[in-house]
């Protein structure tokens, strides 16, 4: 099986193998994995990848899912054009 084609984070193209390799190097903290790979930081804000990453950490470290902290959720929780936050978005070219 080609491990490199199992995608965990679609937004930032992170594979299962990349996350497992980090854990094998001793990086088991989800916040560290997040900062190193940018999981959870793309347009979907972790909706797809975070539960998968938590399961990989649990499987590799023997921790329970309950023991793994959920990374912070921050505003904006949706992809938003920056211009809209300032005021009217000007789409006209």
């Amino acid at each position: 099986m080609s491990e490199k084609d199992i995608i965990i984070c679609r937004c930032n193209d992170v594979t299962q193998k990349e996350i497992e390799d980090l854990i094998d190097q001793g990086i088991t903290d989800i916040e560290e994995i997040k900062r190193l790979t940018r999981i959870g930081m793309g347009p979907c804000q972790g909706r797809t990848c975070i539960p998968l990453v938590m399961r990989i950490i649990a499987r590799k470290t023997g921790k329970k899912i309950e023991e793994i902290p959920v990374p912070a959720t921050r505003v904006p929780t949706r992809p938003v054009p920056m211009g809209v936050l300032a005021g009217a978005m000007n789409n006209e070219e």
Binding site: M1, I6, I7, I65, V80, G87, M89
Partner: protein
């Protein structure tokens, strides 16, 4: 391809005016009222973007604005969620190539204050829970504002062609799509309810005793929704599973397939493999047959079918094989799904070599469960906990659906994965509780809450309900009503 004949749904009646859109310069037919992703799928387009790092083709996955797998460029602007953005005549759509830049020709925005909308109760999400919360909060005396990021209210009810179980007052024997119509009409007719569709909540804040939901309307304007209480009824998100090429266009969440065929009348595929034999997978199989799609098989990793026996029996009668103890090894295809490779599992959940089967399918449906959408509650600071029986992380709450932040309530799948009937009952409780909290309601409404709590307990008395109740006990703050 579009569906024109369906045993239950009439799409000709539903479709809006025919218009022209352009994809990569090519003109395509679309109908007003449908989303970009649906029009593109109807035209046979599966690849919506190429990813930035590894240049992998990507397509639709959740179809309800949550997964951001369907981003395209619209009139030069990248990162548009094509699954919840409506088509407009003359729209120019292009495939997105990784993280695109905003064109240099775009003028900087003009500073402008946000539009302000005031209510007593602000409800986020217009599915079964949110609509029931709105209707009952308004009945109880509150001025209600309800927002939903989809162009259409009703949540997942709008795609359910099957009839519901339960009691008569819980819409037993009525199809989900009809229940949605009834609830939407009640909400629209009520003078004390203001409805905002295509409006995404992006954050929850508090100022003294008032709460603020910041939202973006039609991806164009910032709106502040102010209220005394908030009900979060944001529903659920489809789960993804790891297997080779699990991001190939044509691997869709079960809900996305229902959106295509049951909401917009677009034929989702010719041949489908369903992963997961819970109720969602079983009902999906039946709905696919209604839409004229061939279902090759349903595979299930567990040793037995997870869904109701009646649904499984119906599916088997129609000749669809259900393979338990099977898993998907990989998807294959150039740019989009052409084949699915599955294998049998041993007692240790390891694929048994030599048991591989190949299914020639153009869509793989993932019906491997949902998880609660708690992002806004988590951002607001509500306490959360991982509860397996409720299918993921959920917020702590009491019997009146109030979270650990006073005045913030939760209802429906966002409070734990269950079903539409319990979502409606929870929505009713949360709506009345929020109206009481806002100070606009009368204490006599407590009786209605107690009555609804009893109905919930009755509905949960079956084997599925027992499992959920175990989870609710773990997450409950204060006394549990039984």
């Amino acid at each position: 391809m579009r569906l024109n004949e369906h045993p239950i749904l009439n799409f000709q009646k539903r479709r809006g005016k025919k218009i022209k859109i352009y994809f990569e310069g090519q003109p395509l037919d679309a109908y007003e009222g449908e989303t970009i992703a649906m029009a593109l799928h109807a035209a046979g387009i599966r690849v919506l973007s190429y990813s930035g790092e590894k240049h992998r083709p990507r397509g639709l996955f959740c179809a309800i604005g949550k997964c951001s797998s369907c981003l395209v460029k619209v009139n030069g602007i990248p990162n548009v969620r094509s699954c919840i953005t409506l088509v407009e005549d003359g729209m120019r759509i292009e495939r997105q190539q990784g993280k695109e830049e905003i064109p240099k020709t775009v003028k900087p925005p003009q500073w402008k204050d946000a539009i302000k909308v005031e209510g007593d109760v602000v409800i986020i999400g217009g599915g079964p829970a949110g609509l029931m919360a709105a209707i009952n909060a308004a009945k109880a005396g509150a001025k209600v504002v309800l927002i939903d990021e989809n162009p259409m209210l009703g949540g997942q009810l709008v795609k359910q062609t099957h009839k519901f179980f339960g009691k008569r007052e819980q819409f037993a024997g009525v199809r989900g799509v009809k229940i949605a119509e009834i609830l939407i009409e009640q909400a629209e007719k009520n003078e004390n309810i203001e409805l905002y569709t295509e409006t995404s909540a992006i954050g929850i804040f508090q100022e003294n005793d008032r709460k603020l939901v910041v939202a973006i309307r039609k991806n164009k304007e910032l709106v502040e929704f102010w209220g005394k209480a908030i009900v979060v009824a944001t529903g659920a998100m489809e789960k993804m599973i790891p297997f080779e090429n699990n991001d190939l266009p044509g691997i869709y969440g079960a809900g996305a397939i229902q959106t295509l065929m049951n909401t917009y009348g677009v034929k989702p595929a010719d041949r489908v493999l369903i992963v997961g034999a819970g109720n969602v997978g079983l009902i999906l199989a039946y709905q696919l047959l209604q839409a004229g799609v061939e279902v090759k098989a349903i595979i299930e990793a567990m040793p037995k079918v997870g869904g109701y026996f009646v649904h499984a029996a119906k599916v088997r009668r129609l000749g669809i094989p259900i393979l338990t103890r099977h898993t998907i090894l990989r998807a294959e295809g150039k740019e989009k799904v052409e084949r699915a490779i599955v294998a049998q599992l041993d007692e240790n959940w390891k694929p048994i070599p030599g048991t591989e089967k190949v299914f020639d399918v153009d869509v793989i449906a993932l019906a491997v469960g949902l998880r609660p959408s708690i992002e806004l509650l988590h951002q607001a600071g509500c306490q959360i906990a991982y509860i397996r029986e409720l299918s993921g992380h959920v917020v702590r709450r009491d019997a009146r659906m109030e979270t650990t932040i006073k005045g913030i309530f939760v209802a429906g799948d966002a409070a734990g994965i269950e079903e539409a009937t319990t979502a409606m009952l929870e929505g009713k409780i949360a709506g009345i509780s929020a109206a009481l909290y806002s100070g606009k309601s009368n204490i006599s409404w407590l009786k209605e809450i107690e009555k609804t709590q009893k109905e919930l307990t009755e509905f949960r008395s079956g084997p599925f309900g027992k499992h959920v109740l175990e989870g609710i006990k773990k997450v409950m703050v204060g006394e549990i009503n039984e």
